[in-house]
Structures are given as C-alpha cells and as structure tokens.
C-alpha cells in the first residue's frame, strides 16, 4: 500500500531518497563536465532547476490534454522552450557565466533528469506536487554539484568559490580539474553516501530485532506469571 506523501516529503525525497545524481544517476553529463569550480556547479544547477521547475509545472498542468502517443515529443518541446529562455537570459544578463558553462546550457534539453521527472512524476501528479518534486530534485542536484565543484576546485586550484583555502605550498592536483578528477570525485561521493545509507539501514534493522526480542521476552515473563 502506498501512502500519500505530503508536499514537504515530496521536496525532501529529491535531496536524499531519490537524489538525481546519487541515487538515480541521472544528469551525469553536466555533473561531470562543469564542476571544475564551485560557482560553475551552482550556476549549472540553478539553470537546471529553473528548467525543471517550469517544465514540470507546465507538463503537470496540461498532462490530461496530451495524448499519450505524443507525450514525449510534447515534453521535449516544452523543456526546450524553457532551456532556450534560460540560455538567452544567461547570455543577456550573465555573459561571463554563460561563457564558462559553454554548450552545457543548451544541452539541458537532453538532461535525462528533467525528462525523467516529467515522465515519472509530473505527468501523473497535480501541479503543486510536481512543483515541489521538481524543487526537491533541483535542490538535490544543486547540493551534489556544489560539493563536487568545491572538492575539485579545492584540490585543483586551492580555492573554493574563488577564496584561497589551501596554502601556496600545496601543489594543485591537475587531475582534479581534468575529466578524470570528476569521475574519481563522483565515484567516491557515491561510495561514501551508499556506505552511510547502508549503516543507517543496518542500525534500524538491529533496533527492530532488539525491540522485538525485548517485547517477546517481556511477553514470556508475563505468561510465566
């Protein structure tokens, strides 16, 4: 039986339970490519969240009007529209940022995170829920991209968000800026995250067993009386 989730739960699940990068492993292309610095990661995640939010909302609103045979085509057109808007606004207002992200802003169109949420969630739920789901996934994406960008920037160029953290005696690790560094960082992050989740789960299981034993012991003593 599936319980109805509250709006807050819809939001939170995107950060942890179904985190787009960590759990669904979606949208890895921008995750790996643009996270050479923390600020790039933030900008990319914000652009993606913007597109995700509006396309999910839009798709959810018109979900009952779209014949299922042409739904994917419709989603892509809607997503592409918002991506183009994001791209134009960035080019017009933040030219430096748009240059740093290069071709990855237009490529949000084919980011499977957005189409994934559209198909798996927005097309089946009401607009308000879809909006919170999109925001949650966007926030999850932002957190991961920021962490990855910070780690790579810290070891690759000694800074985080442009502030010097490590001393000059630290030789920057070139590999962290190169694509290989992205794979290594993402792999380690996922590994740590999974190990942590596993430990929490095991502890929960042990607690249940312990409780059960305590209860049954109590019951048997009761029977004895």
């Amino acid at each position: 039986m599936k319980k109805e989730k509250t709006l807050l739960q819809e939001f939170v699940k995107g950060i942890d339970e179904i985190n787009p990068v960590m759990k669904q492993a979606l949208g890895l292309c921008p995750t790996l490519a643009v996270t050479v610095s923390a600020i790039n990661g933030i900008a990319m995640a914000l652009a993606t969240t913007f597109v995700l939010m509006f396309s999910s909302l839009m798709i959810s609103i018109i979900r009952k009007l779209i014949p299922s045979q042409v739904r994917i085509a419709s989603y892509i057109v809607i997503i592409a529209t918002f991506v183009t808007i994001a791209d134009l606004v960035m080019k017009a207002k933040f030219p430096a940022m748009s240059k740093a992200l290069g071709p990855f802003v237009p490529l949000i169109v084919v980011n499977c995170l957005i189409l994934g949420r559209a198909e798996a969630f927005a097309s089946k739920n009401n607009p308000l829920k879809a909006l919170f789901d999109a925001l949650g996934n966007g926030a999850g994406f932002l957190i991961v991209l920021f962490i990855m960008g910070s780690i790579r920037e810290l070891f690759g160029s000694r800074t985080i968000l442009g502030f010097h953290i490590l001393p000059h005696s630290f030789e920057p690790m070139l590999i962290m800026i190169l694509p290989a560094g992205a794979f290594i960082t993402l792999g380690l992050l996922m590994g740590f995250k999974n190990a942590y989740t596993e430990r929490v789960k095991r502890k929960e299981r042990e607690d249940i067993v312990k409780n059960y034993r305590a209860v049954s012991k109590l019951e048997s003593t009761n029977q004895g009386l």
Binding site: Q69, V70, K91, A92
Partner: protein
C-alpha cells in the same frame, strides 16, 4: 482517426505557443546579447592598444581588424582579432600591433578550450608578457628550451608546445593578412 487529429492538434498548439513565447524572449534578449559582445570586443581592442581612445572597423575583409586612434585622432596602430586551431579547439585572440605592423604591443586571448593547467598557461602573464614590444619582422618565432635571443622570439611553455605554437601561428597569420591589406592600400 480522431486520435490522429488530436495528436496533430496538440503538438501544433504546443509548438506555436512555445515559438511565440520564445520569439518574445529573443526580441528582448538579442539587443542585450549584441551589446555584451560589442562591449567585450571593444574592451579587448583597447586592452591590446593601451594608447587607444577610439576605433574604427575596417570593412570588406574576411577577418576582424580595427584601426585604433589615439588622443589627438592620430593612428596608433591596429587591433587584429584572429582565430585558429589550438590543442583541442579554437583559440581566438586579439593582438595589438603598431601602425607599421612590425611590432606587437599586447596580446589578449579571447576564447580558448586548452587543457586546464597546461595549455591554459597561455592566459597567464609569464607567457603573454613575452609578446609585449615583440618584433614581428619578418614573423614571430617560437623557441623551445632556450632563452629567446632575437627580438622576434618567444619561449614555448613547457608541456604545452602545441598551444604555444598555435598562438604564435594565429598571430603570424593575422599579421600576414593585415600586411596583404596594407600592400593593397586598404588599411
């Protein structure tokens, strides 16, 4: 049959609405984007011609070249924007040359996608400073491993020979094109 019509109708409506919406956004954004581009080029023109006060683009050429004028409207030199292949992608740069085209004033790299940490050293002062007051007669030469001894020589970056070479080649080609224009009297 009904479903076919519905499919066509839905996609058409979505397409038209999206297109109309985008047209409006583009109308708002395009002038701003143009202005950004122009400001960027303008900044680069004066960066490579420190004495420049005003400029004028020379028309009817297949590359970007600007006449740069000083305080009293005298010609101080030319700013040439040129691009070519780098290690992984295009390198686009702006070079300021004297009015006889025989001396480089400054070099500015506008766009590049070189290897971070190696090829990107072409952006750093130690490499770029070498081009200040560099002779281009007959052309810029790249030397490897030794200190430059002639006035038209610069030293290659260790580990980024291809990027260094690309920069020098792009500059040489740009200046060569400018020389042809000058011979024709078009400058």
């Amino acid at each position: 049959m009904k479903i076919v019509i519905r499919m066509i109708l839905t996609l058409t409506i979505i397409g038209v609405v999206a297109g109309g919406f985008l047209a409006n956004v583009a109308q708002w954004a395009n002038p701003l984007i143009e202005a950004n581009k122009k400001a960027e080029t303008e900044k680069a023109i004066f960066l490579v011609q420190p004495d420049g006060k005003s400029y004028q683009q020379i028309k009817n050429t297949n590359f970007e070249i600007y006449k740069v004028f000083g305080e009293n409207n005298e010609l101080v030199g030319y700013s040439i924007a040129h691009e070519g292949n780098g290690f992984q992608g295009k390198i686009r740069l702006m070079v300021g040359v004297s009015s006889d085209l025989n001396k480089i004033k400054q070099l500015e790299i506008l766009d590049q996608v070189e290897t971070p940490g190696l090829g990107t050293l072409i952006l750093e002062p130690p490499f770029r400073k070498q081009f200040s007051d560099l002779s281009t007669d007959p052309k810029v030469n790249l030397v490897k491993g030794v200190e430059p001894s002639k006035p038209n020589e610069i030293q290659s970056i260790t580990g980024a020979t291809i990027s260094s070479k690309a920069v020098v080649e792009i500059i040489n080609k740009g200046i060569e094109k400018a020389r042809i224009l000058k011979e024709r009297g078009a400058l």
